[in-house]
């Protein structure tokens, strides 16, 4: 038959193109979504989010934490504009859902990594400015920020 053939066949490997068009985005989405699910659902440690304790170091000769030196709320908020709700246990000031009842109020240890909690303890115990962490603190004597920067 002589005439114009509109749907001319080419050497294109069209079936593979069909398959890739469906499979590649689907697999990519599944893999990334699954990876994110695993990353976020497993217990994880946020670097830098170590427990704060009163320093026993003579660095700078300044002795201890000074609650009055907390950054301005506006500056802190501006620096965390993109932040959502804290996922840390206790959210910094209250009990977390995974903490035992009363864990936040327990004054003997600093396990939550909460700055404000430690500040409560420091202020509540009337700690002397240069006094190191209490011996009963299981984390006492270990550098608070050790191993936090790598992950």
């Amino acid at each position: 038959m002589h005439g114009l053939i509109l749907a001319s066949s080419t050497s294109d490997n069209s079936p593979h193109g069909y398959n890739l068009t469906f499979a590649f985005p689907m697999i990519l989405f599944i893999v990334i979504a699954g990876a994110l699910y695993l990353v976020y659902s497993r217990p994880h440690r946020v670097p830098g989010h170590g427990p704060l304790r009163i320093s026993s170091s003579p660095q700078a000769g300044r002795g201890t934490l000074r609650p009055g030196s907390v950054p301005e709320p506006g500056a802190a908020q501006a620096a965390a504009t993109a932040a959502g709700m804290s996922t840390a246990a206790g959210g910094g000031t209250t009990e977390g859902t995974q903490e035992a009842a009363g864990a936040h109020a327990a004054g003997g240890s600093t396990t939550s990594g909460s700055v404000s909690e430690d500040e409560n303890q420091a202020a509540g115990a009337g700690t002397a400015p240069d006094q190191p962490a209490a011996p009963s603190d299981p984390a006492a004597g270990t550098p608070p920020n050790k191993d936090e920067a790598s992950e």
Partner: protein
């Protein structure tokens, strides 16, 4: 609920500052992972185009027989520079935990130079390609992918420069001992969180560089 009356209350301003500080730490961790996922989708689009056009091979124009590809020596150099930069920065990170802040600063500076050189070489390659963007399917994918990757590398290096400047202002002892004030403790912890997030992203980009090198210089 616990009896919070045992602990003296902070002022609302202090409570809020502490809350947002912790939120900032968590957002650095979460954001870096989300960024990697986002970048994966972005690079996934180019990789899909690569395999789709290669598979389709319309009219044999994916990689024509007489087609001259990008300079492989230059491409290999760029990939190696990115990988070495990531390795050097990671090695420096292991030293900062031992209060050797200056060791990290040196490694970060080297990583910064390597990353910037890699981006500059990539730009040089793009302006001196032996083919036109529309000369083949491979050419179109290459010309689409590499500029994006270069811009991302440059953006990452800008962030590394910011981290270097932040790290210089922190005393080395602060990485192993509690700083004496909350303001300093906040600064150290946020730097650690930001540095960790950067390391994860930069290592990921090094892996991407290897993958792209394999695709464009070996698989095509």
């Amino acid at each position: 609920m616990s009896d919070t009356s045992q602990a003296p209350s902070l002022t609302p301003e202090q409570e809020e500052a502490a809350f947002y500080h912790e939120a900032a730490l968590n957002s650095a961790w979460t954001g870096s992972r989300l960024l990697i996922a986002s970048l994966s989708f972005g690079f996934g689009a180019f990789i899909f185009a690569f395999f789709y056009l290669k598979s389709l091979n319309s009219h044999g124009l994916w990689y024509p027989p007489k087609f001259t590809g990008p300079q492989s020596g230059l491409g290999t150099t760029i990939m190696v520079l990115v990988v070495v930069s990531a390795l050097v920065q990671w090695a420096g990170l292991t030293r900062i935990k031992a209060a050797q802040r200056n060791a990290w600063l040196g490694a970060a500076a080297v990583a910064l130079v390597l990353g910037v050189v890699a981006a500059c070489l990539q730009l040089y390659q793009l302006v001196d390609l032996p083919f036109w963007p529309g000369s083949s399917g491979f050419a179109s994918v290459f010309v689409g992918t590499e500029p994006v990757f270069t811009v991302i590398i440059l953006g990452t290096m800008v962030y590394l420069e910011i981290l270097i400047m932040r790290g210089r202002s922190i005393p080395p002892i602060s990485f192993v001992e509690q700083p004496p004030t909350f303001a300093e403790a906040f600064a150290v912890q946020r730097f650690q969180a930001a540095l960790s997030g950067f390391t994860v992203v930069w290592n990921y980009l090094a892996v991407v560089a290897v993958v792209l090198w394999i695709l464009f210089y070996l698989v095509h």
